[in-house]
Symmetry: C2
Subunit: 359 residues, 2 copies
């Protein structure tokens, strides 16, 4: 039997939450025999029903073990798996690497078979019920081999990542933790703290909130237990970034109070403009690469479909779509993003077909 992934045996996924079950689904898609374990039988049943794999039996011998449990448990689970499957490659999916890997080794995991991992994917939901076959498609998946990691085990980890449709990126565990403290963990704290401020305020004040506040608090809805774990496991790195943010915010507050701090405020804002340009992703890096065509849709079923049908007939490829929401409902205002040279064709086609194209 051929094995296009090259993994050469079953993969055991321990932990059938959002990431574990999604890894199982992606590996099944790639034709891999996936074994599942979860301390919670209900979660396990949901993952099996979803097609993420089968329940591991006593005779099953995995070539690779993926530990997809919260950071506070991952060290022990990796150590146990190391003892149970003495030849298997061991990896995990937790979002903190240095403390988790050190904990695993301290508890007896074999460092020569251990390669840390962290797929850069997630959703605002958690649990096997939120799992998707495509969750990892085209995502970066950081791998943090140890100095002791055997080359064949590093290769197995790369095969796992590719089999799941993701792109492997190698970096050191400490470097990874510093990076996620900056780009993921600190943003989470800022979103949660900002959203928390709303609790103490007059509800009428929140009523006039716009898209800015919604964007800035979207991730505040994340799972409290999981994020307590993540932040605690990366405590030092996160606290260091928070210190810098606190210093910058305090400088801004002081500048505002001084009555003579326009330069300080302007400098803070200008650094933000410059910093934002460093972020990968179309909206962050090059918002002006596309022409935006805005259409006010009638509030009838199927209008959005009709809109796209006209674009399609006009042979205009829509690169992106945004629907704005105001007062808690879709505004009917749809922004289509197309290549600049196609903008006029689209405006013409839509106008001709009676759409309310806004200038």
């Amino acid at each position: 039997m051929t094995d296009p992934t090259g993994i050469g045996g079953p993969v055991l996924v321990i932990g059938s939450g959002l990431i574990g079950a999604s890894v199982g689904l992606a590996l099944r898609r790639a034709g891999v025999d996936v074994l599942l374990r979860d301390a919670d039988p209900d979660n396990l049943a949901v993952a099996v029903d979803a097609g993420a794999g089968r329940i591991a039996g006593p005779g099953d011998l995995p070539a690779l073990v993926v530990v997809a449990v919260p950071p506070s448990l991952a060290g022990q689970v990796l150590a146990d798996a190391s003892a149970e499957f003495v030849d298997a490659t061991l990896t995990d999916t937790t979002s903190v690497k240095e403390s988790v890997l050190a904990d695993a080794i301290a508890r007896g995991a074999d460092p020569t078979r251990l390669v840390g991992g962290h797929p850069m994917a997630g959703r605002e939901v958690s649990g096997a019920a939120g799992a998707r076959t495509d969750l990892l498609d085209d995502r970066l998946w950081v791998l943090t081999p140890l100095a002791e990691s055997g080359i064949e085990h590093v290769r197995q980890a790369h095969r796992l990542v590719s089999a799941c449709g993701a792109y492997p990126v190698e970096m050191g565990a400490r470097e990874h933790d510093a990076a996620v403290a900056l780009v993921s963990h600190t943003p989470q704290v800022l979103a949660s703290v900002l959203a928390g401020q709303l609790l103490a305020s007059d509800p009428d004040r929140v009523r006039i909130a716009g898209q800015g506040l919604r964007d800035m608090t979207r991730i505040a809805g994340s799972n409290v237990g999981l994020w307590t774990d993540i932040l605690s496991a990366n405590a030092g790195q996160v606290a260091a970034v928070l210190d810098e943010v606190v210093a910058a915010l305090s400088r801004t507050a002081d500048a505002l109070r001084s009555g003579d701090g326009r330069e300080g405020v302007a400098g803070m804002l200008a650094a933000g403009v410059e910093g934002q340009l460093l972020i990968p992703g179309k909206h962050g890096a090059a918002p002006s690469a596309y022409r935006e065509v805005t259409v006010m849709l009638a509030d009838r079923p199927g209008e959005l479909g009709r809109l796209f049908a006209v674009a399609s007939e006009a042979e205009v490829s829509v690169e992106d779509v945004r629907i704005e929401h105001v007062l808690g409902r879709p505004s009917g205002l749809v922004a289509l993003f197309v290549r600049p040279e196609a903008g006029e064709d689209l405006v013409w086609a839509l106008t001709e077909r009676g759409f309310d194209v806004r200038v």
Copy 2:
């Protein structure tokens, strides 16, 4: 000649930036005679060309003057307009109310004709070139009448708001400023400070950033001069909110460093979850009201159009669309949000037509 808006005369818009030119466009749509002024002749020409109004002549007598200039200039411009047009209602569109109105009165504006205003709308772009007829449609527009404001002038301000397609909300100037400090000005500072942190970091760290960081820094791209003005004009209220945010962030950093601070971290995260639920808007308030159907599109022009055509044929009304972006390009992964009862129909129709619907 009938005047459906009831304003009963021309409206002079002073300042042809994003908001001023959009007000002009919306009033022209409502059939109002709009006079435009701008210190910058190029900006004025763009606004006139866009159809936002005509250049004010010596004999033109406005019934209402809308001052749409930055906060640092608005007081003087309101005072000048008060002296020039001794019967006109005076309003503005600046995002800070107490200091601007006090400045206007100190410089001689007639308080009986003065009604502060702030449309809750904006874009990441600025200038007349970014103006849109629909920018104010369905938006809240805060009006802050003074104790001295004459009732007929308050009514005129309401007519202006309605003529622009927005919804008037009355509140006190100080209450407005406290509200925007919380829901708009502090989020702007947090986004800018967070984005600014990226400048000092290793570029490789930013490479693994995901949607969370993009959301948290989207508004960091805003206009530096305008926002320096806004924050400076609302300095006291913004500094007060920043102090609270700094205190909460410092408590979190301390809890992380204490090694025994899980409760503090969990409490901060839980407050964020609760606070987020207070924010109006579909995604913030009720993310689970719709069924999400995810489709991986082939990278061919028109696929998005074909997708919508199938939904339309299946008589499924798509309530929202999101396209994810990874590694700086659209991933091909499209999430359609539909009413829960329509989800199965859509999955069936798309699968039947060969679309790659993901579980």
